[in-house]
Subunit: 430 residues, 2 copies
Amino acid sequence: MLKVYNQEELSPAAIEQLVLRNTDPNNAISDTVYSIIEDVKSSGDKALRAYASKFDQVDLEQVYLDKDDIEELASTISRDQQRALEIAFQNIHRFHSTQLKRERVTETMPGVKCWREARPIERVGLYIPGGSAVLPSTLLMLGVPARIAGCKEIVVCSPPQKSGKINGFVAYCLILLKIERIYLVGGAQAVAAMAFGTETVPKVDKIFGPGNQFVTKAKSIIQGQTNVSIDMPAGPSEVLVIADETANPAYVAADLLAQAEHGPDSQAVLVSTSAELITEVNLELNKQVGLLPRQEIASAALANSYAILTTDLRTAMEFSNQYAPEHLIIESDAWQSITSLILNAGSVFLGHLTPESAGDYASGTNHTLPTSGYAKSYSGVSVDSFIKKITFQQISPEGLQQIGSVVEILAELEGLHGHKNAVSIRKADL
Amino acid sequence: MLKVYNQEELSPAAIEQLVLRNTDPNNAISDTVYSIIEDVKSSGDKALRAYASKFDQVDLEQVYLDKDDIEELASTISRDQQRALEIAFQNIHRFHSTQLKRERVTETMPGVKCWREARPIERVGLYIPGGSAVLPSTLLMLGVPARIAGCKEIVVCSPPQKSGKINGFVAYCLILLKIERIYLVGGAQAVAAMAFGTETVPKVDKIFGPGNQFVTKAKSIIQGQTNVSIDMPAGPSEVLVIADETANPAYVAADLLAQAEHGPDSQAVLVSTSAELITEVNLELNKQVGLLPRQEIASAALANSYAILTTDLRTAMEFSNQYAPEHLIIESDAWQSITSLILNAGSVFLGHLTPESAGDYASGTNHTLPTSGYAKSYSGVSVDSFIKKITFQQISPEGLQQIGSVVEILAELEGLHGHKNAVSIRKADL
């Protein structure tokens, strides 16, 4: 059962409290993560093997698998499963391919040409979580845009299974992505290995991917310590559903539960214009949660969730924008009337037949999205995350005549005479 | 005089050493910055007034200036100066306007529509350094893309001058940008004020702008502590010039000095295919440096700089890509033949008549750029920095038929039955 609040009765301070997420749940593990990072930095592969033995209960002879192993593992999954991964791959590829665009040259003044060109980030590291859930979908969500961007080196780390291998689904995705090696490294040690490099794991320029609290903490530490960058800060997953009287309570409940089953710290928020719908959704939650294999996790997450009764879709959207959800589902016949009001969200699902799980796996959009209110200032992962846009300019003699004195005046008023001289010395020769 | 190395004689380890920048020169001031942040967080405006008194030697009655003050200050600058600022504003506006594009809807499968829409980051904070150099150009470089993005609230902080005011150039830029208030707050305290909000300074979602080591450290701390994000990590400014025998040594020297005058920790690197050119540039440096008001600073920076003799433009570019310079100038008749080889750089200046200072002020490109090797994974500031791209999807009954079983298979293989059910429950009603 979701706790229910009435939006009209909530003070601004109460709303602020409701939309607040725990921004640093991981501080307690900080010392552990620092020591893992130091260990990997100084002992390299030896440390990686020791952690595999300690955390993954497996003794690794070598810390990676190559093409032959990957192909053998991939052949163990069914044709239906291969086909489903292929379709997901194709849709993700189709949508992300539209994101890489050539830009035109702008002549800001006659003879002054400016433009941007995209360049791939050369070496990227993708962290694919293992453990309780194995996530081949995450490999597709990170690997496809990396391939489209043209990254030269794609380093993939994932914790080994007890067998010392990876599962067949991840292996099949590696084949789809034409990635011929995977490093059997999990947790904070994987992040450290990709940030500093070891004898076998290459150092990268940017690290991507979700993970448990150790992975998240390690990413935040290396971002401060090195010039390796990260995709975004990460927190527990979350959904906000806006639903009115036209919504199907069974669908709404199913969507909230799909979020809740991620982890006990997940949050599922319902904002509705209909008190009746909220009641019906709560009944459906009770009914559906019992059918889930992960019902304990889902129940814990629901205890941490709530519903808000609101007067109309516009005020519902106001709350949503304050919350800035990772996933926003609008289950209303009138969805088209409010999409322009969306200011802060990671990914948005419109109408009664667009469940979040479609986007989690296969529709084509990315599922690596900003959580914890970061949707106010971050976008989800896209091809943009794997490129830099470099600005270029080229000035002709006419252009220098046009712009020269402007630069001289501005350099002088900022007291930077060397800047001025770089123009004057050229102007004198024109 | 620049130290000269021969690229052929440098080991990979020696090159790694040469391209290394000091990634955390600010660690020593960490405690001071932490305590300033805590102070602003707990005491708000009172702390801001106390720091203005301590660091800026000015007693502020109120911590901001409004429209009337700004207009009065702006009226004190000459018409030529106003005109130069206007042209810079127009060029920056023209180039950055091309960066906001509407994207098309992609139908990844029949009935499965995916697209992205840009939304402005609602509240942005711009830090404009004061102190030894006053930088109205930085206000234009941050304010113009913020305006184009459509940010609702643009908070500007800059340290007060001894008069308790700001200078007229900054005031005139505020008018061009239609920003009606400026907060008289500098240093780490400005970053803290925008990150947490005070009685008068609004809290923002993202903080932009260069600054001294206190500002830089404060940005890095609040990035880890809050969910306020920052434009990019910052370090000392730098240029790398690639020049061959077609280059004019006086121009090359002027460009190196324009960089060197920024600060004693700036770096100016020359990579040349011509030993003769390097010699001539060194002679020119000696000649030109004496003419600069900031010659002491420039000399200190040159002592920290070097030249590399290389065999051809291709190997020159290899070194440049390893260095990943904030600014890259290519002074060669053959610039067109090597631009495609550029992998890592912030902003690139092509040909003999394109000095960096054109881009610093007025050509239209942004001058807020990644330093310290961050050009390997970061782009400079652009309109992209002030928006989020939100993904949307909408699925029709036909679309759900198409994609439904794919999602079901993938959810099942990841063990997420709630995800599967969100599709199955809808498919059953089709």
